[in-house]
Amino acid sequence: MKVIAWLAGLGTLLAGAIYMVVSLNRWEWNRALFFGLIVLIAEVGLATGLVLRRVAKLEYSLKLSAEERAIRGILRETRPPSPDRFAWLQESARGLNVFITFLVGGGVLISGVAWIVDRVASRTSSPAGEERLSRQLGSISYPSGGLLLDDITVLAQEVPGANDDQIRQLLRRGGRR
């Protein structure tokens, strides 16, 4: 509310002064006088407001008795200092209190290195390398016919003396005995 009042006073003062000059420039003396009066009123109002504000401050400080002033002085002197949140930055780096900082910083650095390694590694695969790898993996690949047993192999297990554990295991998984 006070801010609005101050702004209104200042705005009135400025607008009145501008219109006063404009009216003077146009040879409109009565208008110039009228706006000059507005400027004067606004000026007096603002000056009164400033003086009253200063007087209120003085009055507040004078209202305190000697005892209250003494108490206020004691309170001021014994006021705890405001905590320095970043004091640890001024201490030695060997202290444990910088551990978190190094940990976070180290994490950032390690993440950066890991990202670089990942980017480099993604560039190492080439068509020739993939072909060589496929050849190497060929020896351990699944059989071309898949892992399903054909009827001949299944029937062969019925022959007395045939005992292939691997084929029997596959037959059990397939629900056949």
Binding site: V21, L24, N25, R26, W27, E28, W29, N30, R31, F34
Partner: protein
Amino acid sequence: MKKLSPGRIVLGSIGFAIGIIGVLSLREATLSTHQAVASRGTEIVVSARTHGGERGQTLGEMVEAQLLTCRLEVTSDFGGSIEPEQVGEGRFRARLVPGLDETNRRQFRGCVEDFMIDHLQIDVVEMTQIT
């Protein structure tokens, strides 16, 4: 005493210069400098309106009173009929002889558009020189 920094001195000098220029400009704008005029007269058309005026007074009377008052500020007089001729709704025409010079035109226009008579507002619509 507080020491003045170069920035403050520059700002103060700029403000001082602006103030001086403003005052000189205002003085120049409000200074009467009359010259001889070749024109035979100056025709003026005004638009007038009233709000809350006295019952017994017409708009024409009020306009006439203000124009006669303002005529006293310049060196010309109304040619022909003193009463301004009504040319439209709220519009009046008058002729001043001899013609007004630049300063008188500004002065007369300022006077006519000023707050002279209560409840009356006049705007100058046209001001032409008659050769």
